[in-house]
Symmetry: C2
Subunit: 250 residues, 2 copies
Protein backbone atom coordinates (compact mmCIF):
# COMPACT_ATOMS: atom_id res chain seq x y z
CA UNK A 1 0.00 0.00 0.00
CA UNK A 2 2.95 2.26 0.40
CA UNK A 3 2.83 3.24 -3.22
CA UNK A 4 0.39 5.89 -2.05
CA UNK A 5 3.03 7.41 0.14
CA UNK A 6 4.43 10.78 -0.62
CA UNK A 7 8.07 10.29 -1.37
CA UNK A 8 9.07 13.92 -1.42
CA UNK A 9 9.80 15.44 1.93
CA UNK A 10 9.06 19.13 1.47
CA UNK A 11 5.35 18.73 1.91
CA UNK A 12 5.58 17.60 5.51
CA UNK A 13 7.98 20.27 6.63
CA UNK A 14 7.41 21.04 10.24
CA UNK A 15 3.91 19.67 10.39
CA UNK A 16 2.34 16.78 12.08
CA UNK A 17 0.01 14.94 9.78
CA UNK A 18 1.84 16.56 6.95
CA UNK A 19 0.86 13.69 4.73
CA UNK A 20 -2.51 15.40 4.31
CA UNK A 21 -0.99 17.29 1.44
CA UNK A 22 -0.93 14.30 -0.84
CA UNK A 23 -3.24 11.70 0.62
CA UNK A 24 -6.88 12.13 1.58
CA UNK A 25 -7.32 11.82 5.29
CA UNK A 26 -9.77 8.95 4.99
CA UNK A 27 -7.00 6.73 3.73
CA UNK A 28 -5.45 6.81 7.17
CA UNK A 29 -8.57 5.66 8.96
CA UNK A 30 -8.33 2.08 7.90
CA UNK A 31 -7.06 0.52 11.10
CA UNK A 32 -8.93 -1.67 13.50
CA UNK A 33 -7.93 -1.88 17.14
CA UNK A 34 -8.16 -4.90 19.37
CA UNK A 35 -7.24 -5.75 22.93
CA UNK A 36 -5.78 -8.98 24.24
CA UNK A 37 -5.78 -9.87 27.91
CA UNK A 38 -2.96 -11.70 29.64
CA UNK A 39 -4.45 -12.98 32.88
CA UNK A 40 -1.98 -14.67 35.19
CA UNK A 41 -2.85 -16.72 38.24
CA UNK A 42 -0.94 -18.87 40.65
CA UNK A 43 -2.04 -22.40 41.50
CA UNK A 44 -0.39 -25.65 42.32
CA UNK A 45 3.01 -24.06 42.71
CA UNK A 46 3.05 -22.61 39.25
CA UNK A 47 2.22 -19.51 37.30
CA UNK A 48 -0.72 -20.07 34.99
CA UNK A 49 -2.14 -18.21 32.01
CA UNK A 50 -5.82 -17.98 31.21
CA UNK A 51 -6.60 -18.90 27.60
CA UNK A 52 -9.68 -19.59 25.55
CA UNK A 53 -10.10 -21.93 22.66
CA UNK A 54 -10.98 -20.12 19.45
CA UNK A 55 -14.25 -21.11 17.87
CA UNK A 56 -13.84 -19.20 14.62
CA UNK A 57 -11.30 -18.70 11.90
CA UNK A 58 -8.60 -17.63 11.72
CA UNK A 59 -6.70 -19.91 14.06
CA UNK A 60 -9.86 -21.85 14.82
CA UNK A 61 -9.31 -24.44 17.52
CA UNK A 62 -6.07 -22.92 18.74
CA UNK A 63 -5.69 -21.55 22.21
CA UNK A 64 -5.64 -17.79 22.37
CA UNK A 65 -5.69 -14.86 24.72
CA UNK A 66 -9.13 -13.48 25.50
CA UNK A 67 -9.34 -10.57 23.09
CA UNK A 68 -11.54 -8.84 20.58
CA UNK A 69 -12.00 -5.72 18.51
CA UNK A 70 -12.54 -2.36 20.14
CA UNK A 71 -15.53 -0.31 19.11
CA UNK A 72 -14.75 2.99 17.40
CA UNK A 73 -16.02 5.07 20.30
CA UNK A 74 -14.96 2.81 23.10
CA UNK A 75 -12.02 3.44 25.41
CA UNK A 76 -9.37 0.77 25.39
CA UNK A 77 -9.46 -0.05 29.08
CA UNK A 78 -13.21 -0.45 28.99
CA UNK A 79 -12.92 -2.63 25.92
CA UNK A 80 -10.42 -4.84 27.69
CA UNK A 81 -12.80 -5.30 30.60
CA UNK A 82 -15.77 -5.92 28.36
CA UNK A 83 -13.95 -8.49 26.29
CA UNK A 84 -12.56 -10.27 29.30
CA UNK A 85 -15.97 -10.49 30.85
CA UNK A 86 -17.66 -11.65 27.66
CA UNK A 87 -15.11 -14.35 27.03
CA UNK A 88 -14.29 -15.59 30.50
CA UNK A 89 -16.84 -14.22 32.93
CA UNK A 90 -14.20 -12.33 34.87
CA UNK A 91 -15.34 -8.93 36.08
CA UNK A 92 -13.69 -5.94 37.72
CA UNK A 93 -10.18 -7.04 36.94
CA UNK A 94 -7.73 -4.19 37.10
CA UNK A 95 -5.47 -4.55 34.11
CA UNK A 96 -2.27 -2.78 33.20
CA UNK A 97 -1.39 -1.94 29.65
CA UNK A 98 1.51 -3.77 28.09
CA UNK A 99 2.87 -3.29 24.58
CA UNK A 100 1.10 -2.93 21.23
CA UNK A 101 1.51 -5.19 18.24
CA UNK A 102 0.98 -3.93 14.75
CA UNK A 103 2.67 -6.17 12.21
CA UNK A 104 1.02 -5.37 8.91
CA UNK A 105 0.09 -8.98 8.19
CA UNK A 106 -0.77 -10.12 11.68
CA UNK A 107 -4.46 -10.49 10.86
CA UNK A 108 -5.98 -11.65 7.55
CA UNK A 109 -9.02 -9.41 7.67
CA UNK A 110 -7.03 -6.20 7.56
CA UNK A 111 -4.74 -3.98 9.55
CA UNK A 112 -5.55 -4.84 13.14
CA UNK A 113 -3.34 -3.36 15.81
CA UNK A 114 -3.71 -4.99 19.17
CA UNK A 115 -2.92 -3.68 22.61
CA UNK A 116 -1.90 -6.08 25.34
CA UNK A 117 -3.33 -5.79 28.85
CA UNK A 118 -2.34 -7.89 31.80
CA UNK A 119 -3.38 -8.60 35.34
CA UNK A 120 -2.32 -10.82 38.21
CA UNK A 121 -5.25 -12.38 39.95
CA UNK A 122 -5.74 -14.48 42.99
CA UNK A 123 -7.47 -17.68 42.13
CA UNK A 124 -9.59 -17.69 45.25
CA UNK A 125 -11.10 -14.37 44.32
CA UNK A 126 -11.89 -15.25 40.73
CA UNK A 127 -13.37 -18.46 39.51
CA UNK A 128 -13.68 -17.90 35.78
CA UNK A 129 -14.56 -21.47 35.05
CA UNK A 130 -17.46 -21.47 37.44
CA UNK A 131 -18.97 -18.11 36.59
CA UNK A 132 -18.29 -18.14 32.89
CA UNK A 133 -20.53 -19.50 30.23
CA UNK A 134 -17.82 -19.15 27.62
CA UNK A 135 -16.57 -22.26 25.92
CA UNK A 136 -13.27 -23.74 26.87
CA UNK A 137 -11.65 -21.33 29.24
CA UNK A 138 -8.61 -22.98 30.77
CA UNK A 139 -5.48 -22.26 32.71
CA UNK A 140 -2.20 -23.36 31.16
CA UNK A 141 1.18 -23.40 32.84
CA UNK A 142 3.37 -20.58 31.60
CA UNK A 143 6.32 -22.94 31.45
CA UNK A 144 4.47 -25.21 29.06
CA UNK A 145 2.76 -22.75 26.78
CA UNK A 146 1.25 -24.23 23.64
CA UNK A 147 1.47 -22.44 20.31
CA UNK A 148 -1.10 -19.71 20.65
CA UNK A 149 -3.08 -17.96 17.93
CA UNK A 150 -1.72 -14.88 16.14
CA UNK A 151 1.28 -13.33 17.89
CA UNK A 152 -0.10 -14.18 21.30
CA UNK A 153 2.99 -16.05 22.43
CA UNK A 154 4.96 -12.88 21.86
CA UNK A 155 2.46 -10.88 23.86
CA UNK A 156 2.60 -13.31 26.77
CA UNK A 157 6.37 -13.44 26.78
CA UNK A 158 6.56 -9.68 26.87
CA UNK A 159 4.23 -9.59 29.86
CA UNK A 160 6.25 -12.25 31.64
CA UNK A 161 9.45 -10.31 31.07
CA UNK A 162 7.85 -7.16 32.44
CA UNK A 163 6.44 -9.08 35.37
CA UNK A 164 9.81 -10.52 36.33
CA UNK A 165 11.26 -7.04 36.41
CA UNK A 166 8.38 -5.39 38.21
CA UNK A 167 8.00 -8.09 40.80
CA UNK A 168 11.46 -7.36 42.14
CA UNK A 169 10.83 -3.67 42.73
CA UNK A 170 7.16 -3.58 43.58
CA UNK A 171 5.09 -5.70 45.93
CA UNK A 172 2.83 -6.99 43.18
CA UNK A 173 3.40 -10.64 43.96
CA UNK A 174 0.75 -10.49 46.65
CA UNK A 175 -1.92 -9.96 44.02
CA UNK A 176 -1.44 -13.57 43.01
CA UNK A 177 -2.08 -14.95 46.47
CA UNK A 178 -5.27 -15.23 48.46
CA UNK A 179 -5.89 -12.42 50.91
CA UNK A 180 -4.44 -14.57 53.69
CA UNK A 181 -1.33 -16.54 53.02
CA UNK A 182 1.61 -18.14 54.75
CA UNK A 183 5.20 -17.12 54.42
CA UNK A 184 5.89 -20.45 52.83
CA UNK A 185 3.36 -19.76 50.09
CA UNK A 186 4.83 -16.34 49.50
CA UNK A 187 8.29 -17.79 49.20
CA UNK A 188 7.13 -20.47 46.76
CA UNK A 189 5.49 -17.79 44.65
CA UNK A 190 8.63 -15.69 44.42
CA UNK A 191 10.69 -18.75 43.69
CA UNK A 192 8.32 -19.69 40.88
CA UNK A 193 8.30 -16.26 39.28
CA UNK A 194 11.99 -15.51 39.63
CA UNK A 195 13.02 -19.10 39.09
CA UNK A 196 15.38 -19.27 42.05
CA UNK A 197 15.38 -20.55 45.60
CA UNK A 198 15.70 -18.68 48.85
CA UNK A 199 16.86 -19.74 52.27
CA UNK A 200 13.66 -20.14 54.22
CA UNK A 201 14.76 -18.53 57.44
CA UNK A 202 16.37 -15.60 55.71
CA UNK A 203 13.41 -15.05 53.41
CA UNK A 204 11.07 -14.81 56.34
CA UNK A 205 13.33 -12.40 58.17
CA UNK A 206 13.70 -10.17 55.17
CA UNK A 207 10.03 -9.96 54.34
CA UNK A 208 8.96 -9.49 57.95
CA UNK A 209 11.51 -6.76 58.51
CA UNK A 210 9.83 -4.74 55.78
CA UNK A 211 6.73 -4.37 57.96
CA UNK A 212 4.43 -4.90 55.02
CA UNK A 213 2.60 -7.89 56.43
CA UNK A 214 -0.22 -7.90 58.90
CA UNK A 215 -0.44 -10.86 61.24
CA UNK A 216 -4.01 -12.08 60.92
CA UNK A 217 -3.72 -14.07 64.17
CA UNK A 218 -5.07 -16.99 62.23
CA UNK A 219 -3.35 -20.19 61.28
CA UNK A 220 -3.41 -22.71 58.51
CA UNK A 221 -5.88 -25.55 58.84
CA UNK A 222 -6.00 -28.99 57.29
CA UNK A 223 -2.27 -29.46 57.21
CA UNK A 224 -0.54 -32.53 58.55
CA UNK A 225 2.04 -30.61 60.50
CA UNK A 226 2.47 -27.51 62.52
CA UNK A 227 0.23 -24.92 60.87
CA UNK A 228 1.85 -21.69 59.73
CA UNK A 229 0.59 -18.25 60.60
CA UNK A 230 -1.57 -16.52 58.05
CA UNK A 231 -0.53 -13.04 57.00
CA UNK A 232 -2.12 -10.43 54.79
CA UNK A 233 -0.51 -7.69 52.76
CA UNK A 234 -0.83 -4.31 54.45
CA UNK A 235 -1.38 -1.96 51.56
CA UNK A 236 -1.75 1.11 53.73
CA UNK A 237 1.52 0.40 55.48
CA UNK A 238 3.20 0.02 52.13
CA UNK A 239 1.86 3.32 50.85
CA UNK A 240 2.96 5.26 53.87
CA UNK A 241 6.37 3.61 53.92
CA UNK A 242 6.81 4.35 50.25
CA UNK A 243 6.14 8.02 50.84
CA UNK A 244 8.87 7.99 53.44
CA UNK A 245 11.30 6.77 50.83
CA UNK A 246 11.12 3.04 51.44
CA UNK A 247 11.62 1.00 48.34
CA UNK A 248 10.62 -2.60 48.02
CA UNK A 249 13.27 -4.92 46.68
CA UNK A 250 13.42 -8.64 46.31
Amino acid sequence: MNEERSSSTEDTLGHQFGAFYKIPIEKFFQFALSVDCVILGYHENGLKLLVIERGTEPHKGKKALPGDLVYPAEDMELAANRVLKDLTGLENVYMTQSKSYGQVDRHPIGRVVTVGYYSLISVDRYQPLASSWAANVVWVDVNELPLLAFDHNQIVNQVLATLRERVRLQPIGFELLPKKFTLGQLQELYEAILNTTFDKANFRKKILSMNLLKDTKERQTDVAHRPAKLFSFDKKAYESLRQQGFSFEM
Copy 2:
Protein backbone atom coordinates in the same frame (compact mmCIF):
# COMPACT_ATOMS: atom_id res chain seq x y z
CA MET B 1 -21.04 5.51 18.80
CA ASN B 2 -21.64 2.74 21.23
CA GLU B 3 -25.30 2.66 20.37
CA GLU B 4 -24.28 0.27 17.65
CA ARG B 5 -22.95 -2.15 20.17
CA SER B 6 -24.63 -5.42 20.68
CA SER B 7 -25.91 -5.46 24.20
CA SER B 8 -26.84 -9.10 24.36
CA THR B 9 -24.04 -11.45 25.18
CA GLU B 10 -25.04 -14.68 23.51
CA ASP B 11 -23.82 -13.61 20.12
CA THR B 12 -20.20 -13.39 21.12
CA LEU B 13 -20.08 -16.65 22.96
CA GLY B 14 -16.66 -18.14 22.75
CA HIS B 15 -15.60 -16.24 19.67
CA GLN B 16 -13.10 -13.59 19.06
CA PHE B 17 -14.52 -10.87 16.90
CA GLY B 18 -17.90 -12.13 17.90
CA ALA B 19 -19.30 -8.70 17.25
CA PHE B 20 -19.38 -9.59 13.58
CA TYR B 21 -22.79 -11.06 14.17
CA LYS B 22 -24.44 -7.71 14.61
CA ILE B 23 -22.10 -5.11 13.19
CA PRO B 24 -20.56 -5.04 9.74
CA ILE B 25 -16.85 -5.51 9.90
CA GLU B 26 -16.12 -2.21 8.13
CA LYS B 27 -17.44 -0.34 11.12
CA PHE B 28 -14.44 -1.49 13.10
CA PHE B 29 -11.90 -0.21 10.60
CA GLN B 30 -12.29 3.42 11.51
CA PHE B 31 -9.18 3.95 13.53
CA ALA B 32 -6.07 5.85 12.57
CA LEU B 33 -2.72 5.04 14.10
CA SER B 34 0.05 7.48 14.88
CA VAL B 35 3.46 7.31 16.47
CA ASP B 36 5.04 9.83 18.81
CA CYS B 37 8.75 9.85 19.52
CA VAL B 38 10.22 10.67 22.91
CA ILE B 39 13.86 11.45 22.23
CA LEU B 40 15.93 12.06 25.32
CA GLY B 41 19.42 13.49 25.39
CA TYR B 42 21.76 14.65 28.08
CA HIS B 43 23.48 18.02 27.95
CA GLU B 44 24.56 20.63 30.40
CA ASN B 45 23.98 18.36 33.37
CA GLY B 46 20.37 17.76 32.56
CA LEU B 47 18.07 15.38 30.79
CA LYS B 48 16.52 17.01 27.73
CA LEU B 49 13.58 16.19 25.51
CA LEU B 50 13.46 16.85 21.78
CA VAL B 51 10.31 18.69 20.75
CA ILE B 52 9.05 20.41 17.64
CA GLU B 53 6.78 23.37 17.34
CA ARG B 54 3.53 22.53 15.62
CA GLY B 55 2.79 24.48 12.46
CA THR B 56 -0.78 23.28 11.96
CA GLU B 57 -3.97 22.95 13.89
CA PRO B 58 -4.85 21.45 16.22
CA HIS B 59 -2.53 22.75 18.91
CA LYS B 60 -0.82 25.03 16.40
CA GLY B 61 2.17 26.77 17.93
CA LYS B 62 2.42 24.43 20.86
CA LYS B 63 5.43 22.27 21.42
CA ALA B 64 4.87 18.62 20.65
CA LEU B 65 6.60 15.31 20.28
CA PRO B 66 7.73 14.48 16.77
CA GLY B 67 4.91 12.29 15.56
CA ASP B 68 2.58 11.61 12.69
CA LEU B 69 0.08 9.18 11.23
CA VAL B 70 1.13 5.70 10.21
CA TYR B 71 0.32 4.54 6.70
CA PRO B 72 -2.11 1.62 6.47
CA ALA B 73 0.53 -0.78 5.20
CA GLU B 74 3.47 0.57 7.14
CA ASP B 75 5.01 -1.12 10.15
CA MET B 76 5.00 0.93 13.31
CA GLU B 77 8.73 0.89 13.94
CA LEU B 78 9.41 2.01 10.39
CA ALA B 79 6.82 4.73 10.72
CA ALA B 80 8.48 5.97 13.89
CA ASN B 81 11.81 6.22 12.12
CA ARG B 82 10.33 7.88 9.06
CA VAL B 83 8.47 10.45 11.11
CA LEU B 84 11.44 11.21 13.27
CA LYS B 85 13.62 11.72 10.26
CA ASP B 86 11.07 13.88 8.45
CA LEU B 87 10.49 16.12 11.43
CA THR B 88 13.92 16.37 12.99
CA GLY B 89 16.49 15.00 10.58
CA LEU B 90 17.49 12.24 12.97
CA GLU B 91 18.23 8.94 11.28
CA ASN B 92 18.95 5.41 12.43
CA VAL B 93 17.74 5.96 15.94
CA TYR B 94 16.90 2.73 17.68
CA MET B 95 13.67 3.31 19.50
CA THR B 96 11.84 1.22 22.06
CA GLN B 97 8.09 1.04 22.22
CA SER B 98 6.40 2.60 25.20
CA LYS B 99 2.66 2.65 25.90
CA SER B 100 -0.28 3.41 23.64
CA TYR B 101 -2.82 6.16 24.11
CA GLY B 102 -6.30 5.84 22.80
CA GLN B 103 -8.64 8.24 24.59
CA VAL B 104 -11.69 8.53 22.34
CA ASP B 105 -11.53 12.31 22.16
CA ARG B 106 -7.79 12.78 22.08
CA HIS B 107 -7.82 14.02 18.48
CA PRO B 108 -10.49 16.16 16.81
CA ILE B 109 -10.21 14.57 13.38
CA GLY B 110 -11.30 11.16 14.56
CA ARG B 111 -10.24 8.16 16.54
CA VAL B 112 -6.47 8.33 16.49
CA VAL B 113 -4.59 5.88 18.67
CA THR B 114 -0.98 6.76 19.17
CA VAL B 115 1.94 4.57 20.13
CA GLY B 116 4.84 6.08 22.03
CA TYR B 117 8.42 5.28 21.10
CA TYR B 118 11.48 6.43 22.94
CA SER B 119 15.21 6.50 22.62
CA LEU B 120 18.17 7.76 24.55
CA ILE B 121 20.71 9.42 22.33
CA SER B 122 24.13 10.84 22.79
CA VAL B 123 24.23 14.42 21.72
CA ASP B 124 27.64 14.11 20.15
CA ARG B 125 26.40 11.44 17.79
CA TYR B 126 23.26 13.27 16.73
CA GLN B 127 22.96 16.90 15.86
CA PRO B 128 19.33 17.28 14.91
CA LEU B 129 19.47 21.04 14.79
CA ALA B 130 22.32 21.03 12.34
CA SER B 131 21.15 18.33 10.00
CA SER B 132 17.45 19.04 10.11
CA TRP B 133 15.56 21.35 7.88
CA ALA B 134 12.46 21.10 10.02
CA ALA B 135 11.19 24.22 11.67
CA ASN B 136 11.78 24.77 15.33
CA VAL B 137 13.31 21.61 16.66
CA VAL B 138 14.51 22.27 20.19
CA TRP B 139 15.64 20.53 23.33
CA VAL B 140 13.74 21.31 26.50
CA ASP B 141 14.72 20.32 30.01
CA VAL B 142 12.57 17.49 31.30
CA ASN B 143 12.32 19.21 34.65
CA GLU B 144 10.81 22.28 33.02
CA LEU B 145 8.47 20.77 30.49
CA PRO B 146 6.02 23.19 28.93
CA LEU B 147 2.43 22.20 28.26
CA LEU B 148 2.72 19.99 25.22
CA ALA B 149 0.15 19.29 22.52
CA PHE B 150 -2.41 16.51 22.87
CA ASP B 151 -1.59 14.06 25.67
CA HIS B 152 2.11 14.36 25.02
CA ASN B 153 2.97 15.31 28.59
CA GLN B 154 1.45 12.04 29.68
CA ILE B 155 3.48 10.15 27.10
CA VAL B 156 6.71 11.78 28.21
CA ASN B 157 6.03 11.17 31.87
CA GLN B 158 5.37 7.52 31.21
CA VAL B 159 8.67 7.22 29.38
CA LEU B 160 10.51 8.97 32.19
CA ALA B 161 8.99 6.63 34.74
CA THR B 162 10.01 3.61 32.67
CA LEU B 163 13.45 5.05 32.19
CA ARG B 164 14.00 5.56 35.90
CA GLU B 165 13.14 1.93 36.51
CA ARG B 166 15.11 0.52 33.61
CA VAL B 167 18.19 2.58 34.24
CA ARG B 168 18.67 0.90 37.60
CA LEU B 169 18.67 -2.62 36.23
CA GLN B 170 20.16 -2.19 32.78
CA PRO B 171 23.22 -0.29 31.63
CA ILE B 172 21.25 2.00 29.34
CA GLY B 173 22.56 5.21 30.83
CA PHE B 174 25.64 4.97 28.65
CA GLU B 175 23.53 5.57 25.58
CA LEU B 176 23.13 9.14 26.71
CA LEU B 177 26.84 9.82 26.93
CA PRO B 178 29.44 10.26 24.23
CA LYS B 179 31.39 7.14 23.36
CA LYS B 180 34.17 8.30 25.66
CA PHE B 181 33.27 9.73 29.01
CA THR B 182 34.67 10.29 32.47
CA LEU B 183 33.45 8.67 35.63
CA GLY B 184 32.39 12.10 36.80
CA GLN B 185 30.13 12.54 33.80
CA LEU B 186 28.64 9.11 34.34
CA GLN B 187 27.94 9.91 37.95
CA GLU B 188 26.31 13.23 37.10
CA LEU B 189 24.12 11.45 34.59
CA TYR B 190 22.91 8.90 37.08
CA GLU B 191 22.35 11.58 39.64
CA ALA B 192 20.29 13.57 37.16
CA ILE B 193 18.12 10.65 36.13
CA LEU B 194 17.60 9.15 39.56
CA ASN B 195 17.53 12.50 41.30
CA THR B 196 19.96 11.54 44.04
CA THR B 197 23.60 11.97 44.86
CA PHE B 198 26.34 9.39 45.21
CA ASP B 199 29.60 9.45 47.08
CA LYS B 200 32.17 10.04 44.38
CA ALA B 201 34.77 7.56 45.55
CA ASN B 202 32.23 4.84 46.16
CA PHE B 203 30.49 5.39 42.87
CA ARG B 204 33.74 4.96 40.97
CA LYS B 205 34.63 1.82 42.88
CA LYS B 206 31.26 0.28 42.29
CA ILE B 207 31.14 0.95 38.59
CA LEU B 208 34.73 -0.10 38.00
CA SER B 209 34.26 -3.32 39.93
CA MET B 210 31.59 -4.32 37.43
CA ASN B 211 34.24 -4.56 34.69
CA LEU B 212 31.95 -2.97 32.15
CA LEU B 213 34.20 -0.06 31.30
CA LYS B 214 37.15 -0.04 28.96
CA ASP B 215 39.97 2.30 29.80
CA THR B 216 40.61 4.24 26.59
CA LYS B 217 44.02 5.35 27.85
CA GLU B 218 42.97 8.85 26.91
CA ARG B 219 42.28 11.76 29.16
CA GLN B 220 40.09 14.80 29.26
CA THR B 221 41.39 17.94 27.61
CA ASP B 222 40.59 21.60 28.06
CA VAL B 223 39.82 21.36 31.74
CA ALA B 224 41.32 23.65 34.32
CA HIS B 225 42.30 20.88 36.65
CA ARG B 226 43.59 17.35 36.67
CA PRO B 227 42.00 15.67 33.66
CA ALA B 228 40.02 12.53 34.28
CA LYS B 229 40.52 9.28 32.41
CA LEU B 230 38.18 8.62 29.54
CA PHE B 231 36.30 5.34 29.58
CA SER B 232 34.02 3.65 27.12
CA PHE B 233 31.24 1.16 27.72
CA ASP B 234 32.31 -2.38 26.89
CA LYS B 235 29.20 -3.86 25.38
CA LYS B 236 30.79 -7.21 24.66
CA ALA B 237 31.99 -7.58 28.22
CA TYR B 238 28.50 -6.79 29.42
CA GLU B 239 26.90 -9.38 27.18
CA SER B 240 29.24 -12.13 28.25
CA LEU B 241 28.93 -11.23 31.91
CA ARG B 242 25.18 -11.20 31.61
CA GLN B 243 25.20 -14.70 30.22
CA GLN B 244 27.17 -15.79 33.24
CA GLY B 245 24.40 -14.52 35.48
CA PHE B 246 25.72 -11.06 36.24
CA SER B 247 23.01 -8.51 36.74
CA PHE B 248 23.59 -4.81 36.55
CA GLU B 249 22.23 -2.82 39.43
CA MET B 250 22.55 0.83 40.39
